[in-house]
Structures are given as structure tokens and as C-alpha cells.
Amino acid sequence: MSRIIVLLALLGLASCTPFRLVPPGPLTVEHTFVVDVPHAWNAVSGDRAVLMTMDGPTLDAVVFHPGIEDGKTLFYKVDLEAQQNPLLVWAGIEKDLVSYRFRKDMSEHELMDLYIASATKMGDHKISFAAANLAPFTLGGKPGFRFDYTVTAPDGVHRRGMVVGAVVDEKLSMIDYRGTSLYHFEKHKPAVDAMIASLRFVKD
């Protein structure tokens, strides 16, 4: 069970939030961008992210990270300073902790590093990422980046993933898609690719 909890935490999924059914059609994510969902999908809002899955979040998951602001962490749970006791901070007794935060002028390498370091922290260091194929990518008509990765979580299942993202109006938006290497990644990839291709930013 603890392995599943680590895995769900890694996906930024709040454990008590109920799933809802997203019908086919346009889906606006946190007033930041719109994607066309090709068929009905299960969705749940998590920690600064929205997760969608077809067969269950441990098998396949699309995670939208919409509009992360300059100076914010990718997930609230990895904002170590925000979780310090304010009274102790006021008294000058701060813990020796520094969070890895998004900054608007980050390079593509730094954005990839931010994602991997944040996800590793969310997984309590019990997961292992290997990134590949960092390349330029156009997301919603904006210059961005993409990379592939493989990840091994405590449940021992090998998963493949890909991330696309762009910094628009000084805010970072990313889409992370992952699934089991054996089956689910390839199963849903065409639908996810179509969703990514349909993305447009709300201010456009």
C-alpha cells in the first residue's frame, strides 16, 4: 500500500479527492489553456495539477501543470519553506531547507531538471528517473520544449513518460504523460498526442 501512496504522491494526486468524468470536447485547465479531449476521460484535481487517467493512475496518467508562477514550486508539497512553522521563522529558528522553484528565465535544461527533481522529491526519493531526447517543441503556438523519460517507482513497474511544456506570460505550463512500458503508454499515446496538438493558451 505504501508503494501505491508514493506513486500517487508522485503524480500529485490528492488522496481523498473524487474523480469526475470529463466528456469529449474542449477542456479548459485552470483558466490557462484549452485542450480538446477526444473521448470521455477520468479526471481529478491534485496538488497544483490536474490528472486524467483511462485505466487508473498507476497504469496511465496525463498530468496538466497549468500556469506555474515565477518563484513557485511545481507542487505545494515540495515547497519546504512554506511548510516551516511561521513562529519559529519569526524567531529566527529556520530549518536548513531550500526549495527548487520555477523562475521565468529558466532554460529548457533547467525546466527538465525542475520537473525531475520535484517528482523525485514527491516520490520520497524512492523513484528513479532517466531523461532522454530533450528537444525544442512548439506548444500552443509558443516555443517550448519536450523530453522523454523512464521511471521506476517502488512498485517495481517500469513506466515510460514524456513531458511537453512552454513558458508563456512568465508562467510555466507542462503536460506530463506516463504509462506502463509494457502496454499502457503506447495504448493511450495517440489520444494524448492529439490533445497536446490541440492545446491553445487562453489569452490567445
Binding site: V78, L80, K95, D96, L97, V98, S99, Y100, R101, R103, D105, S107, E108, H109, E110, A117, T120, K121, H125, K126, I127, S128, A131, A132, N133, L134, A135, P136, F145, T152, A153, P154, D155, G156
Partner: protein
Amino acid sequence: MNPIDRRTFTTGLCGCMLSGLAGCATTHQTGSAYDLSDTPPGYKPDIHSDEAGLWMQINKTEADMRTAANRIRDKAVNDLVHDIICRLTQDYCADLRPYVLRSPEWNAAMFPTGLTFVYTGFLLQAKNESQVAAVLGHEFGHFRRRHSLARMRDARTKDDIAAALGIGLSMVVAGADFSRLVNLGLNASKLAFSRDHEREADAIGIDLMSKAGYDPYEAGAVWRRVIDIDAASGQDDYHDPYLSTHPTHEEREETLKKLAAEKRKPAVPPPNRLHQVVAPIRASMLADQIDLGTFKRTEKLFDLLIADGLNPGEVLYYKGELYRRRNKEGDDTLALGLYHEAAEAAGAPPEALRQVGLMRWRKGDKDGAREYFRRYLGATPGAFDREIIQNYLKGA
């Protein structure tokens, strides 16, 4: 349904009492916590004993550890740890099963079943093989003296006493609840017992490492490094004399120094294969330290590793990463300086060249950046980010 007769009732009552006693015989078969003999080589506990229950729990943990995703599979690293254990423990070698786990925490442990784990954070921090031997020797001291079993029995006995005293005192003073007061006293007693075990294990460990040809002075040096890192982080070893499980780091350093003086220095240089063996996984160990999010502690550790002089370029690069990620005022400049220094030092990863390029690009020095991007691609023919670097070279 027929009413129960007297004979059936009496028989049933006797049965219940007997089964109750049998239950007592199983669950309260504790034995003493205080005069346990050493674990002999090849030891297995009686299947009906409380010790067997402890082993069963640990075996479940080992089953998970065997297939853990963060288990280090590098054969050379595992062989080294196993060899150090065998040098220290001789006849017990076959009973001890080490697992090296990827975790940035500073920790290692040996359980009564022989399950042993070593975190990579501990291997990274160790200055040499003698320091690894000091800690594994200490852990073997716990194993041989059966400290886990002793602590389990001691805790159970004291919990029984706490319950009896709590009830007794409450009967004397009606309405009063003494259970918290009694628990406080007995918990302090349990922890004092634990601290004594640590002292005993330290003495056993230094004796074994000395006999195995390691430098006994490195046992105290382990704690000097821990003290220095704690001090740098602003979190000195706060020690509650009643509620700490271990003696202070300072006490351990001092005691181990005194014990080392009683030992012979090794006649030949002690084995020191550590850094050569962990070199292939050292980059991930350094990166994991940064992921912990403890800035001052990690900076101090990196400074100590740079001072050790082994592949300083690699550590300088990760120190640059530490500053870049923190991103306070001036950190970019500090990081760029460290990347530059790393790029020209021994053992630097090619990524140091790329980071110099990216930092220079951000600062507007595009020609200088392109020079480092070319060097990076030259040093990394199969670079996973070739396409994006070539974009920079084209002037994107």
C-alpha cells in the same frame, strides 16, 4: 438449545484457563533483556520464541528490500560492502546479507536476522574505507550482542511495570492518573538502555576494525565529520540527556579517540577501495544530496569532499548546481564560477561545460556560450540534448 450443565461448564472453564495459560506461555515468553549471550555464527531462534516473531517481521522487510526500486545493483559496490563486512566479522560472514540502497540519508543498520542495509548517503560522506568499516563494525556489535532483542524485551518489561504501577497508584490516590508520569520515567530508562547499547557497539566496532587492519582513528573521525556538517547547518547535536537514543556525537568522538589510542595502528596501509568502487554511482549520489533540499548541510558536505581531493571537478559541478537551484541574489554568478572551475578540474562531467554555456547565454555572452556548447558536444557525442544545443549554436 439445551441449558448447559454443571460438568460441561466446569470442563469449559478449565479449558479456558488452560488455553489462557498457554497464551501467556507464548506471548510472555520473554527471557531476560540483560544477560543475553552473544549470537553464535549460524544462529536461528527457536520457532516458538518471541525472538522468532522479531525475525519474522524483519524477514518481511528484507523481502521488500530484495526487490526495492532504489536498491543499488552495481556488483562492485555490493561486493565491496560485503567484503568489508566479512573482513570484520569472519565466521559470521555467511549470516550477513548487505543491501545498498539509493537514499541521500546518512544511515546504515544491521538487524538480528543478518539483514544489513547501507544508504548511499553514508557511502558518499565516508572519507575512506576505514570509516565505512567503523560504522559496519558498530552495527555488527548490535547484531552480535543481540541488542534489538534486548531492547524489545526491556521495552515490554517496562511497559508491564508502567501498566501495573499506573493502576496501583491510581487505586491509592482515587481519581488520579499517574500513567503519564510513570511512562515518562520508564521511557527515560528504556532510552538510557539504548544509549548503553550504542556505547557497547562502538567499543566492539573499533576492536573489530582494528583487528581487520583498518585505521582505528577513523572511527572517531566519522563523528567529527558528522559534527562539522551539523554545525554548518546551524543544527548542532541537540542532546536531551534523558530522551536521546544515542550518546552525543562529541562523546562518541572522544570515546572512540581514546579507544583508538589503545589499539595498534595498522602495520600496512589499510585497504581503501571505496572511492574507486563508488565512482560510477557518485554523480547520482551527489545529485540526490541536492534533492534533499538542505542547503548548508549539503554545501558543507561538498566542501569536505572537495577538500578530500577525489574527483574535485565532479563535486564542484554539483556545488554549482546547488547554488543554481537555490537561486538567491548572486547565486547565478557563484554557480557560473563553480561550473568554470569544475570544467577545468579533474573528474568534471561534460555537463559542467554545458552549464557554463547556458549561464553565459543567460547573461548575454552568446559567443562565449557557443564555445562551451561546442566543447560539450565534442565531449558528449551521444548527448541526449544535442538537438536543443544545436539550436543554441544556430543562434535561436
